[in-house]
């Protein structure tokens, strides 16, 4: 008869940023069963959106679902409302939205990479990446006035204009970050503790990625061509040089490489935006109350984010449904843990870049 032992990971654990509990059923060192509990930080934001706030303030409420992808949340909600009100946003506002979206992606990926390093026991690299991430935070603060909660997007446009001084600073800082990211690519491919150690650990095959509806860098590392930036028309991603980054291995190393390539692609896109930012207004006037329902998807740093908004012609909305990337990937996470060693679990978990405050909303 086989004997198994239950070992929990979390809800407070040294390798975790946020509370989540995994209950691993282990047979010796191998994980044979996974149970997860993700609801520790449930705040009832969906309920608050339909009872406490009017539709024009909800953009700021949903930005507080998650600190790292705040901009994607408020953008998705805003685009959903703009669709219902038939607002056409000026092209300058669209480019500024992409600019901040990509800056946000760069800093979020850097945070994830630094935590992967920390979980591999490479503290110096963790410090280095976190230090370099400050360059991105600095330009985000210059552009929006805040480091984390940008509150940059409102219905009909963006809140602040960009000026030449800020644009030059962004270009300079992005150049410096690009140089540093090149250095990381070297470390993540050649350094033993970051590359070889991670090969074939926590692998997800392409077929399983399809079956479990994996999204974001997790799916792209397995070779699945899913990137919402490729599938939407609200933002002109194809004009600014978006390239899908995929890998075939599907292991932790592949995820890191995909993230690094995405940072490089994002830097390239930001440079292209700043080189050709059009003239014009940043705000469109609008009238009326939203009516009807709309589904909007965007690519958050961790994957696909979906907003479903239903309105009935009054200032209060009927339903706001937020489907966050980590929430949708939990079945895939549980599948990946099967058959791995328990000792690898923290490293695998960090490579998913889980965002639990998104998940529990």
């Amino acid at each position: 008869m086989k004997k198994t032992i239950n070992i929990p990971l979390g809800s407070q654990h040294i390798s975790l940023l946020e509370p989540v509990r995994f209950k691993f059923e282990c047979e010796n060192e191998k994980i044979v069963g996974v149970d997860s509990d993700v609801g520790f930080v449930h705040r009832g934001i969906e309920k608050a959106c339909t009872t406490k706030f009017k539709y024009d303030g909800i953009g700021y409420v949903v930005a507080r679902v998650c600190g790292l992808c705040a901009i994607t949340h408020s953008l998705s909600y805003t685009v959903a409302i703009e669709e219902l009100l038939n607002i056409e946003v000026t092209s300058k506002a669209k480019y500024l939205r992409i600019l901040l979206l990509e800056l946000d992606r760069i800093h979020s990926h850097m945070l994830c990479l630094s935590h992967t390093c920390e979980n591999a026991g490479f503290e110096a690299m963790f410090m280095r990446i976190m230090g370099d991430r400050e360059l991105i935070m600095e330009i985000q603060e210059l552009l929006t006035g805040n480091r984390i909660q940008f509150d940059y997007i409102n219905i009909g446009g963006v809140n602040r204009d960009i000026n030449l001084e800020v644009a030059t600073k962004i270009v300079n800082n992005l150049d410096r970050v690009k140089e540093k990211v090149m250095g990381y690519v070297d470390e993540f491919t050649n350094n033993w503790s970051l590359s070889l150690k991670f090969k074939r650990i926590g692998a997800l095959s392409l077929d399983d990625a399809y079956k479990f509806n994996a999204i974001g860098p997790l799916a792209r590392a397995s070779g699945l061509n899913i990137d919402v930036r490729n599938e939407i028309k609200y933002l002109p991603y194809h004009e600014i040089g978006f390239k899908m980054q995929t890998h075939i291995d599907g292991d932790i190393n592949a995820r890191n490489i995909v993230r690094l390539n995405e940072i490089l692609n994002s830097i390239e896109m930001c440079d292209n935006i700043l080189a050709g930012i059009p003239e014009g207004e940043i705000q469109t006037k609008y009238k009326g109350k939203p009516n009807g329902e709309s589904v909007v998807r965007f690519e958050a740093p961790r994957g696909e984010l979906m907003y479903y908004v239903k309105a009935n012609g009054t200032a209060m909305l009927e339903r706001v449904r937020i489907k966050t990337p980590t929430f949708a990937s939990i079945p895939a996470f549980s599948h990946i843990f099967m058959g791995e060693n328990y000792a690898d679990a923290p490293a695998i978990l960090a490579s998913f870049d889980p965002c639990l405050s998104c998940t529990a909303k």
């Binding site: 929006t144 006035g145 509150d151 809140n159």
Partner: protein, 129 residues
């Protein structure tokens, strides 16, 4: 390995990346988002800022000794809670006279302690509304 050894050695003589905070002040840009400031004389009491504020950090409540502004027919007094404010500057955009009556500065709010009773004072004001 040699390069990393060399790097580690030079790191000994490099300055830290962090700011020596109490001695050196944190760099502050003039556009950073901070407190909302208000000038009573220029206000026309349209109450647009109060309606626009997402968290409800601006309240106009009736007072016994209102200001001498002739636009203020209902005897209202402006109240602002910096601890509730999210500094999104929706109010400034809604204001018909931005930069004169209502504008955003780059100042920080003072740190409130328990004995200041900021919350209970604000709840009293909300009841008056």
């Amino acid at each position: 390995m040699f390069t990393s050894f060399f790097k580690a050695f030079t790191n000994l003589f490099r300055k830290p990346q962090t700011i020596d905070y109490p001695l050196t002040p944190i760099p502050k840009d003039k556009d950073y988002r901070g407190l909302i400031e208000y000038r009573e004389e220029s206000c026309i009491y349209c109450l647009k800022c109060e309606k626009a504020c997402p968290p409800g950090a601006i309240l106009f409540v009736k007072s016994d000794n209102p200001s001498q502004n002739e636009k203020n027919k209902k005897g209202l007094v402006y109240n602002y809670n910096p601890y509730l404010c999210i500094y999104c500057s929706e109010c400034v955009r809604a204001c018909p006279k931005p930069d004169e009556a209502l504008w955003q500065s780059n100042k920080k709010p003072e740190i409130a302690i328990k004995s200041d009773n900021v919350n209970s004072k604000w709840f009293e004001l909300e009841k008056l509304k």
